[in-house]
């Protein structure tokens, strides 16, 4: 696997899908965005569900903008209602700067909802034309960034699916590709192992700092915040450390190049090939949008039987749980739990499926159903109260 066939973007990146993003820059534009998307195949709606105000929502808008410059996205239509401070140009400007075609519409300037939908359909047709004319190229594997995440973890995740994904990630890095994992809370208790893998002392200190920041966010005395799902525990995981130990296995064994920050002031992206950690959330819907924003073309996702899916970044699902595995799962790792299959064999299956998917083959549930494109952000006021630095 030295190359893949993808869509050449103006900024030099190469996508494995050729999609158009319809952005509702504020919650009031959601219906308009959906109406346009429903009539236009190959489009994905991303909504700022929160407010129409920019101050305090910089991180979320940053994730939205960066997701629109994902290699799988050819161009975007940005719509807002018009009475808030998140203007379409605020969102469209950085997307346009990557060379992608972007159109903007403000509902109250278009004489209302029906007119905006009508105009939006005209504008998006131009972007579709541009997307359809995108040249296909044989891209070197160094252009590939793979997101790695677990969801619905149980004991089999730590024994079967996560170690086989970790081995596949090691092989991808050896080929010259890059991979990125996140979910820092679920690496709590594994800092000493991760720090040994850091390429520099600076990265090692950053790992400590960002995992400890994440613990502060979730561990607030007197609050009853769930840090693991009930399903995780019914599946046999007793403590966050036990979950972490299993979660760590999916990051493989390669040196860690950096731990990428995602906050109100920045969204760091990989600069050289290799294995990365990031502040990608452990919450599934939001994590896929973080991976999209970081530039991942594809996600490897370990689970029991949950059909997690994202409309921008195809998700390859791996399960080692024979009681939960179902038609949604792309890779069957249950043989490892029965002592019949080796990690080596399953990691090869993962790479074979990945090779198909990055060359245009559909995953088990691509085009069928998707998680919501949740845009997660940290509350800047809470960050301040918890004394977590913004830099």
């Amino acid at each position: 696997m030295q190359t893949f066939r993808g869509y050449q973007r103006e900024d030099g990146s190469v996508g494995i899908r050729n999609l158009i993003m319809v952005i509702a820059a504020d919650e009031c534009a959601e219906g308009i965005a959906r109406a346009i998307s429903e009539k236009t195949p190959g489009t994905v709606v991303v909504t700022n569900y929160n407010t129409c105000m920019y101050g305090g929502n910089e991180e979320m808008i940053g994730t939205m903008i960066n997701a629109a410059t994902n290699p799988n996205i050819a161009g975007a239509l940005v719509i807002n209602m018009g009475c808030g401070s998140i203007t379409p140009d605020l969102v469209a400007g950085p997307i346009r700067a990557t060379g992608r075609p972007v159109e903007t519409l403000t509902c109250i300037k278009e004489s209302g909802t029906v007119s905006t939908i009508r105009e939006g359909l005209k504008r998006i047709a131009k972007i579709v034309e541009h997307a359809d004319a995108t040249p296909m190229v044989n891209a070197p594997i160094s252009k590939l960034l793979v997101g790695i995440k677990c969801g619905g973890s149980d004991t089999s995740s730590g024994i079967a699916s996560n170690p086989s994904v970790g081995l596949a990630a090691d092989k991808l890095i050896d080929m010259g590709a890059s991979a990125v994992a996140g979910e820092l809370l679920e690496l709590l208790g594994c800092e000493h192992i991760l720090k040994e893998r850091a390429v520099t002392l600076e990265v090692s200190e950053k790992i400590d700092q960002l995992i400890s920041d994440e613990e502060k966010r979730w561990h607030v005395e007197g609050t009853q915040v769930e840090t693991m799902s009930v399903g995780n525990s019914i599946g046999g995981l007793t403590t966050i450390e036990e979950k972490s130990l299993g979660a760590l296995a999916k990051t493989g064994s390669k040196p860690i190049q950096d731990i990428l920050r995602i906050n109100a002031t920045k969204l760091e992206k990989p600069e050289a090939p290799g294995m990365y950690l990031s502040e990608t959330t452990m919450l599934c819907g939001g994590s896929a949008m973080h991976f999209a924003a970081l530039g991942c073309q594809v996600i490897l996702w370990t689970t029991g039987g949950a059909g997690f899916n994202n409309p921008i970044v195809p998700v390859i699902r791996v399960s080692g749980n024979s009681q939960l595995i179902n038609e949604d799962i792309d890779i069957d790792a249950t043989g490892i739990m029965r002592g019949e299959d080796s990690l080596e064999k399953v990691s090869e299956q993962i790479l074979k499926t990945l090779e198909g998917v990055i060359n245009g083959e559909k995953t088990a549930i691509e085009d069928f159903g998707y998680a919501y494109c949740s845009l997660i952000q940290k509350d800047q006021r809470v960050e301040r109260l918890l004394s977590i630095p913004a830099e």
Binding site: D154, T155, S156, G158, I159, L188, G189, E215, W218, H219, Q224, V225, E226, T227, M228, V230, S233, I234, G235, G236, T238, T239, I240, E241, E242, S244, L245, N321, Q323, M337, R338, G339
Partner: protein, 111 residues
């Protein structure tokens, strides 16, 4: 016979590879599939959950995969389920209401 997998020689728990009933004898195996001996379960233990291989006292660490991933909050006899009803995190606990929910949903026998 139902098997329970011990991941590391330092471990004091093994993971059940199938659902097992109270009083059932299970075969403890190593990562290399070697037999390590038999063990009688003091309570039903579902697939993926852990059985204590040795008795634990309060504050004793739970070792899995060679790493401490929790501590006992009450005595855990050999053959008992080691889970949320008798083990806590070393760093960050699950909220008490969720623990009760897990115990209810899993129908864990709490002594």
């Amino acid at each position: 016979m139902i098997k329970a997998l011990r991941l590391n020689a330092a471990d004091n728990v093994a993971t059940l590879l199938e659902n097992a009933s109270k009083g059932e004898t299970v075969l403890v195996i190593s990562e290399q599939n070697e037999s390590l001996g038999e063990l009688e379960l003091l309570q039903a233990i579902p697939f993926g959950n852990k059985v204590a291989l040795r008795p634990m006292k309060p504050e004793d660490q739970l070792i899995k995969g060679g790493v401490a991933v929790g501590k006992a909050i009450k005595p855990v006899p050999q053959g008992q389920l080691a889970h949320v009803q008798n083990i806590r995190s070393l760093n960050l606990d699950i909220p008490e209401v969720m623990i009760n929910e897990i115990i209810t949903q899993m129908e864990i026998e709490v002594d």
